[in-house]
């Protein structure tokens, strides 16, 4: 079976990440609209400890290993970035793994 088709779709990653962020970081602001390209850090949605939680969630939910040097704004700064990053990781290494992803522009 082709590994490229076994991982989650990018849109599913974005939706699950959005649900996680809403439930854990935006529970006090239920009327906040969180768009795919809205910054998670600059807007104060997630602080640096929150990032660690988010990484743990992504690792567990998508069976990935995320290396410390991958915890960057480029990879995790928006829901869309998370979608691209996780999707690429899953599809670069089956449904998980610790292979470094290609840099996302």
């Amino acid at each position: 079976m082709d590994q490229q088709t076994t991982g989650p779709a990018q849109s599913e990653i974005v939706d699950r990440a959005r649900a996680y962020v809403r439930e854990n970081f935006l529970y006090m602001r239920p009327d906040w609209t969180l768009g795919d390209e809205d910054p998670l850090l600059g807007s104060g949605v997630i602080d640096s400890i929150g990032v660690i939680e988010l990484v743990e969630f992504l690792q567990g939910a998508f069976r990935l290993a995320i290396a410390e040097e991958e915890i960057t704004e480029q990879n995790l700064g928006t829901l869309a970035a998370i979608g691209r990053f996780v999707h690429q990781k899953c599809h670069a290494n089956g449904s998980g793994g610790s292979v470094r992803p290609r840099q996302v522009a």
Partner: protein, 653 residues
């Protein structure tokens, strides 16, 4: 140290002894050794006494020979012997050995000019019958509290707000702007308080009340202008000032002990106290069962070197939660940290061990640039000068060593600081902290938020800054903001005086001897913060006096567990009661749905960030504060009879 309370009437309608007794009874913890009052047709003065100097002769209210000038006073004038001598040379006749009498004669001699001559920590109310006026004053840095409220032309004043409420004449209502300042700066900025219509006399000011009108004047201003170069004799001068500051603060007719945190400042204070004490020095420390918070090895090292008799207050699971409602009652404000709670328990231990005066290390971190915030300010400026540098922001990873390592690395951590604000903003140094703190506002109920209207706590702070502020160095500006927003209204108050006086313990603060403060603030920044090495000149001085483990140790901030204090073990009943949606709805400050989300994360052990820890403590303490002060009228709950004021009562009418 003591407590004072009183009333000044606009019309000669008298002040009843019962009213003064009620006010005094509400602050009896501040002065368990004695009680006195004076009442006439326009003025009522009440005093509860902690006897420290002239135990036999220092009863208050105290008047001059003909009763024209009469004072109630809380504090210590450390240079009272020198002032007394000077006043005697000018013909004043003293009847007691107390420092209180220096205020009476000093005011007769110099009027408000007296204040500039005082070296001490004080708040007092002085009735001048000659001018039919009341004079209120507070020390330079706000070590001791003084609150007042104007009602129907009358002035009510007291060391603590609960005494104002006990009068039955002062409305008990919240001030949304005062609360919003608590949730921005950690404390309301004087003169504002979290209570509507109740003002704090600002540090370094005096007020005169006459014919129903109050005028407030500043007698002391901070100057953060630094010298170009460190004076050649800087360390010798520092030595003189440290020794003199501690020596003056050892003046007491009872033994003086010391609080020992395990850090540099309290170790210096205790080391100098040990050298000058006629008694075997007693030292007291807080220890934590939670290893990252605990400093007991360092405390023990200093106590051993000093040969002090050392006692510890151990903080284990449940200790903070058990006393937290009492802590809030004494603090009279919502809190963002539980850190005052261990100090509340420490003062209880200190008092139980027979010590009622201690030296503490407060004030040093502000004037000798000890906090990480000062380094953070330098690193932010350094990075912003070359925004494209990839290595400069890595310096942020070296700050805040007490946070989990994984939380203080990487892009997100660095960008939090880099995006926090522009160096042109007068509040630049404090914007990351203010930004983090104000996340509590996300939990506001819509109606409470609407009630704040366009109130802008940061804008008001910017407007309040003194002329010349932007001419000071970035670190000078940061130190000023730290002193006025955190040291005076929070560290010296909710975490300082209130926790010590809850059990009748007087905390003396040698690093806030104004001569030492002025000397330190004038030193070039690099004398104090050299590279990223904090309190450099103080360490140079301390080499040889203290163990190298202390002089070379990086600053560790004093912290206590916040969310885990309430959720790690058995959850105290009041948590569920007060954070229940219906209860929150009644109080009307926070959004029940948002708080429910926070509590869910606390119970699940997920609320580990600074923002959520602060929010939980802020919300819980606000609800405790509301229940304590805005529930049943205080008059119904305060002890009402003079019998409850205990032995030592004296009434002069």
């Amino acid at each position: 140290m003591c407590g004072l309370a009183g009333v000044a009437r606009a019309r000669p309608q008298g002040v009843s002894a019962q009213l003064l007794e009620r006010m005094a009874a509400a602050i009896r913890h501040r002065g368990p050794d004695g009680f006195g009052l004076h009442a006439d047709d326009r003025i009522g003065l009440a005093h509860v006494r902690l006897s420290v100097i002239d135990v036999a002769g220092g009863a208050q209210p105290m008047a001059n020979e003909d009763g024209d000038v009469r004072v109630v006073y809380n504090g210590e004038i450390y240079n009272y012997l020198e002032l007394r001598h000077e006043l005697q040379l000018r013909g004043h006749v003293f009847r007691t050995r107390s420092d209180t009498e220096v205020l009476v004669h000093g005011y007769e001699q110099w009027g408000e000019g007296l204040l500039e001559r005082l070296n001490g920590q004080f708040a007092f109310a002085l009735h001048d019958r000659r001018t039919a006026s009341l004079f209120l004053a507070r020390d330079r840095f706000g070590i001791l509290p003084l609150f007042y409220a104007e009602r129907g032309g009358d002035l009510y004043f007291a060391s603590e707000i609960k005494a104002l409420f006990a009068s039955g004449a002062v409305e008990q209502a919240l001030d949304p702007e005062g609360l919003d300042e608590v949730f921005t700066f950690w404390a309301a900025r004087p003169p504002r308080t979290p209570f509507r219509g109740i003002r704090a006399l600002e540090p370094g000011t005096w007020a005169r009340w006459r014919d129903g009108a109050l005028s407030v004047r500043r007698y002391y201003t901070l100057d953060l202008t630094t010298a170009e170069a460190e004076p050649a004799d800087a360390v010798e001068r520092l030595d003189e000032l440290l020794r003199s500051g501690v020596r003056l603060r050892m003046r007491a007719d009872v033994p003086v002990g010391g609080y020992l945190s395990g850090g540099l400042d309290s170790s210096i204070a205790c080391a100098l106290a040990a050298q000058g004490s006629p008694y075997h020095l007693r030292t007291f420390s807080v220890t934590f069962d939670d290893p990252p918070l605990d400093e007991s090895a360092f405390q023990q090292a200093v106590a051993t070197q000093l040969g002090s008799r050392h006692a510890v207050q151990r903080i284990g699971g449940g200790a903070i939660a058990r006393v937290f409602p009492d802590v809030v009652r004494h603090a009279e404000t919502p809190l963002l940290r539980t850190a005052p709670a261990p100090l509340y328990l420490l003062s209880r231990l200190t008092r139980e061990q027979g010590i009622k005066v201690v030296l503490t290390g407060e004030g040093s971190d502000e004037v000798f640039l000890g906090y990480d915030l000062f380094k953070e300010t330098l690193v932010r400026l350094f990075c912003l000068r070359q925004p494209d540098s990839r290595w400069r922001p890595r310096l942020f990873d070296r700050l805040y060593g007490y946070l989990p390592p994984q939380a203080r690395k990487g892009d997100f951590w660095r960008r939090f600081f880099l995006n926090a604000g522009s160096p042109d903003d007068p509040l630049f140094s404090h914007l990351p902290r203010f930004r983090l703190t104000t996340r509590i506002r996300d939990f506001y109920a819509d109606r409470f938020r609407a009630g704040l209207g366009a109130f802008d706590a940061l804008g008001e702070l910017r407007q309040s800054l003194p002329p010349g502020f932007m001419g000071w160095s970035p670190l000078g500006r940061a130190a000023y903001l730290e002193i006025v927003t955190l040291l005076s209204p929070y560290l010296l108050a909710a975490q300082g005086d209130r926790m010590a006086m809850a059990h009748g313990v007087e905390a003396r603060v040698p690093f806030l001897d104004h001569r030492l403060v002025e000397f330190a603030l004038r030193l070039p920044d690099r004398s104090r913060l050299r590279g990223l090495r904090e309190k450099a000149i103080l360490r140079r001085w301390a080499e040889g006096t203290l163990p190298p483990a202390i002089t070379r140790r990086p600053k560790q901030p004093y912290r206590a567990p916040d969310v885990p204090a309430f959720f790690a073990g058995t959850e105290p009943e009041y948590v569920a009661e007060l954070l229940d949606a219906a209860s929150l709805q009644r109080t009307g400050i926070f959004n029940p749905e948002a708080v429910t989300g926070l509590v869910r994360r606390c119970r699940a052990g997920l609320a580990t960030g600074v923002g959520e820890n602060q929010a939980l403590v802020a919300i819980l303490s606000t609800e405790l504060w509301h229940r304590e002060f805005l529930g049943a009228p205080a008059r119904e709950r305060a002890p009402a009879s003079s019998g409850e004021l205990g032995a030592g009562a004296s009434i002069a009418a």
